[in-house]
Amino acid sequence: MYVAVKGGERAIENAHRLLANARRGDQSVAEVTLDQISEQLGLAVDRVMSEGSLYDRELAALAIKQARGDLIEAIFLVRAFRATLPRFGTSEPVDTGAMLVQRRVSATFKDIPGGQILGPTFDYTHRLLDPSLAEGFVPETPATAETSAALTPRVTDILGRDGLIESSPEAEDGASVGDLTREPLNFPADRDLRLQNLARGDEGFLLAMGYSTQRGYGRNHPFVGEIRFGEVEVEFAAEDVGFAVPLGAIELTECQMVNQFKGSATEAPCFTRGYGLAFGQSERKTMSMALVDRALRARELGEEALAPAQDEEFVMSHSDNVQATGFVEHLKLPHYVDFQSELGLLRKLRKEFAEANAPDAMKEAAE
């Protein structure tokens, strides 16, 4: 029999009050501000914006504060918030070639037009804990140097001129751009949907999937053609205005992975590509994304698709940490009724087992 149970309201209310206090911590310690989170924990903010799939630094900082630094919980909060706002429309595709780069490196070509620009990076740091950061640290003023007017073209565009690398797929005339926030996922999924899924996918999941391809589960021999991070302008074709209006700039990281070449009797061999793009400075994320994007192109490129990273249904169905945490964490919510029915069944089976295996004497006595 199903019995509706009520109760626990007071316990829940008090638990949330306790949470608010635990979140605040020792009140003799200064409260952290959103500006502090945004300025000093900027990469956490970038991750929450990327995987929350909403570019808004202040909201991401608030979510991190509310979630006590639990980034997946913060991402969940941001996703829930986005559902409360109307959508005005879609931006013009951003031009990453025109990015004001703050960092731009290539692992494939030493001498690229515009140069190798390290920018603010953890690369080449010694990964030793720095006690001087514990309190009152004032960094040195950044060095400056003469700027050059040299453009920083995408490395893949340079390779593309000689036909050494496959060109990016052009949009088909009149083809609409898939949007998984509007339509449910169907397989096989086109590359636009795959990239949208990966762009909001969990960094840890994509990192593991990308790593698995390097370890041999769907090997595709990657080189970093280029990673760039910086500001790009966003334009929006507003219906009421009648032309594209500037919205301002956002920070993006882009990774162009150059992968093993292919050719055929009719096509000259050339390198293939994987692509990664994410909000903020998110290098590990975009590199992983590019590895997985390339792995998911296995079928299109006529490769054997046996590894998990090459299975788009597997990857796309498990990359979203909000969906994943929802399903995993719901297990801790009351399942009393479900469990009662399991328990009832188990008791019955055990009784039958006990009867079937009872010593004959018992059986006779019973008869």
Binding site: Y55, D56, L85, T90, V94, A171, L195
Partner: protein, 137 residues
Amino acid sequence: MAVLAHAEAGEIAARLRDLALPAHQDLRAPENGLVMLRGRVGGDGAPFNLGEATVSRAAVRLASGEVGFGYTLGRDGEKARLIALCDALVQSRDFGGLVERSVIAPLREQLMVRRKHAAAETAATKVDFYTMVRGEG
């Protein structure tokens, strides 16, 4: 108008404050929403949806009839309204030059200075390769 989208609401307001502005009204009160941001496969290929951004928008009409639209990333409705007001003023014969001179030009200058400074800091992290050992002799 890109210059205004890069400025803070307070910076625009401060420069408008000194001007004797014509009568105007909100045609559309500031409103927050989302715009889906798009990238391109490989940077230059077919478009795909990257993720959304918060956007604020507003529209303002001057008493003389010019209508201005304001759009900006973020949720600062006042900034959207100020941009819409500037957009309307720029179209006005009486105020266009003044707004360009007193509001937009100084903010553009400020943006250029900020960008130049950031570019100089970035340039200092550019790698100069040199050959350590040559394999001759």
